[in-house]
């Protein structure tokens, strides 16, 4: 609900840096508000004005602390910063966990920072569609850097990483060895590795493992070589090195012409997610009717197979 304020007023408010307008627009994104297309149309011209930095890693590696310190340093450097903390793994609770956001409250009185925990309560296409919409709101509000922090490393994180211009993967010593990192598929998505908790035993081994695995990867002469940076975010150590790596990647994106390609890829993912979400909603509506549940019952008792049932479902939708 926009509580009486219409979309043009909210968008104008966001443009002027009004935090409440930004918050309301992101709520509309989360809720899948029908006026979203109007919002998106109004925000289209500011598309691509921020560097989108994804930040991911297993629970416990220190993502929130690192994000907090990055925000502090980016503010000192004069950036306007947006933070989206995305929790793709909890479709049940209808809301992201806010507990560890509390320590970010030091930034909540700073008008140059927007912080938001996101869930995908009603958005068609889930977080894959909702996250870029929220980024659009933050770009509209003048943020030149947007941090997207995700919980864990899974397919949803990989999808969200594919929306980022620059992806940071956090590791910590003792959180599992290099094989586990490969298992989680993170080698392929990382532009920058941050070995956090670098003051702990095993940090050097983790650093070496990652460097070793990067040495095995095949890269062409113009390709980006992922950076590996040591940090101890809780002591505010190494944060400048992380920022330098982010800036270096941004410079490479500009010089190599990959930034435009990244933006087009992100737009394609976004458009496809919205389109699939629309189709999924049409099917979902059938769940309460006789269509899908009747077909599912027949699959469950073995009188039909799932492919035939899917065909029947699509036929029922006229697809």
């Amino acid at each position: 609900m926009s509580k009486g304020r219409d979309v043009p007023a909210l968008v104008a408010g966001a443009r002027a840096g009004d935090a409440r307008s930004v918050a309301r627009l992101i709520s509309m994104v989360e809720d899948g508000d029908p006026r979203l297309r109007e919002v998106a149309a109004a925000l289209a011209p500011s598309a691509g004005t921020a560097q989108i930095v994804g930040l991911t890693g297993s629970p416990g590696v220190g993502k929130s602390t690192t994000t907090n310190e990055l925000v502090r340093a980016l503010r000192v450097a004069g950036h306007r910063v947006g933070v989206l903390a995305v929790d793709p793994s909890s479709p049940f609770t209808g809301g992201a966990i806010l507990g560890d956001r509390i320590r970010m409250q030091e930034h909540t009185t700073d008008p140059g920072v927007y912080i938001r925990s996101m869930s995908s309560r009603g958005q068609l296409g889930g977080l894959a569609a909702a996250t870029p919409q929220a980024v659009r709101v933050l770009e509209g509000a003048g943020c030149d850097i947007v941090l997207i922090e995700t919980v864990g490393v899974g397919q949803a994180e990989v999808e969200i990483a594919s929306l980022a211009d620059t992806t940071l993967v956090l590791l910590a010593p003792g959180m599992g060895d290099a094989i586990q990192a490969v298992k989680a598929g993170i080698l392929e998505i990382a532009d920058v590795f941050v070995v956090n908790k670098a003051d702990r035993p095993g940090a050097d081994a983790t650093y070496r493992d990652i460097q070793g695995m990067l040495g095995l990867g095949e890269r062409g002469p113009g390709d980006w070589r992922p950076q590996v940076v040591r940090a101890t975010a809780v002591k505010n150590e190494g944060i400048d090195d992380v920022l330098a790596a982010i800036a270096k990647h941004r410079a490479w994106l500009d010089e190599s012409g990959r930034l435009r390609a990244a933006h087009e890829h992100r737009a394609a993912v976004e458009v496809e997610a919205i389109a699939l979400g629309t189709l999924r909603a049409r099917m979902g509506n059938l769940r309460d009717g006789t269509g899908l549940s009747a077909l599912a019952a027949r699959v469950a008792d073995g009188t039909t197979d799932p492919y035939s049932a899917a065909e029947a479902l699509l036929a029922e939708l006229g697809l």
Copy 2:
């Protein structure tokens, strides 16, 4: 490729317990082979004959070791066992990591166990569609229990957990505190918590934290109360307790009538995933044409918004 053998012969082979036939059928599932609908039709009558046990947890908690010990104990108890190790987080490599499967080789000469690492190379609908198809193959081969092991805890794991009759979540001391567990959304999906590495410091605290959080949840009188079990899989300790918890949950599913509901839910997810995959494939084919990429370029340069582009995309598909 079935190398000259036709589908009826492969299905008959799988029914007779021929491991090569099982392996070929699962390869067909992974590859999205067009003959899958024929396979699915042949396997439909054996639907729902196995208890599907999902097993998930962060990298490093000891999932592979626990799976291995569970298989050993289930074999001793006379079960025919299927194991699917699913890696949803690595869409890039085109294959699940096999490294830690090596230690399972002790079971590879046992004709009562089928072990398979799965990826979703070409399957419409990804692993959400492929995994239940592979389960169907294993049910057809006479497995009465199928373990699905996933890497990490993310949305894909939650989706796969929704396919399981019984979901085990592994935790280990020192892998992050209770808040992290809540963040990862695992409280909602677990039927059984296994506190693995129970011989390590902090295991009691992890056990108490989980018990405490379970106490906060709301449950009706007929609802299942998740079990919490301690184990040290690497020493083969506590495995019988894990099996007892799995059996107890199975008994509850039977008595409460939830098993049929779980099977229908699984079928609905499966049918929907196949149907969405079909639609996604139709869109994906546009990626190489002018449709999606031309629209994405316009979104990237801000001359249109993603909702209008999605509408145009669907119109182009006649949807």
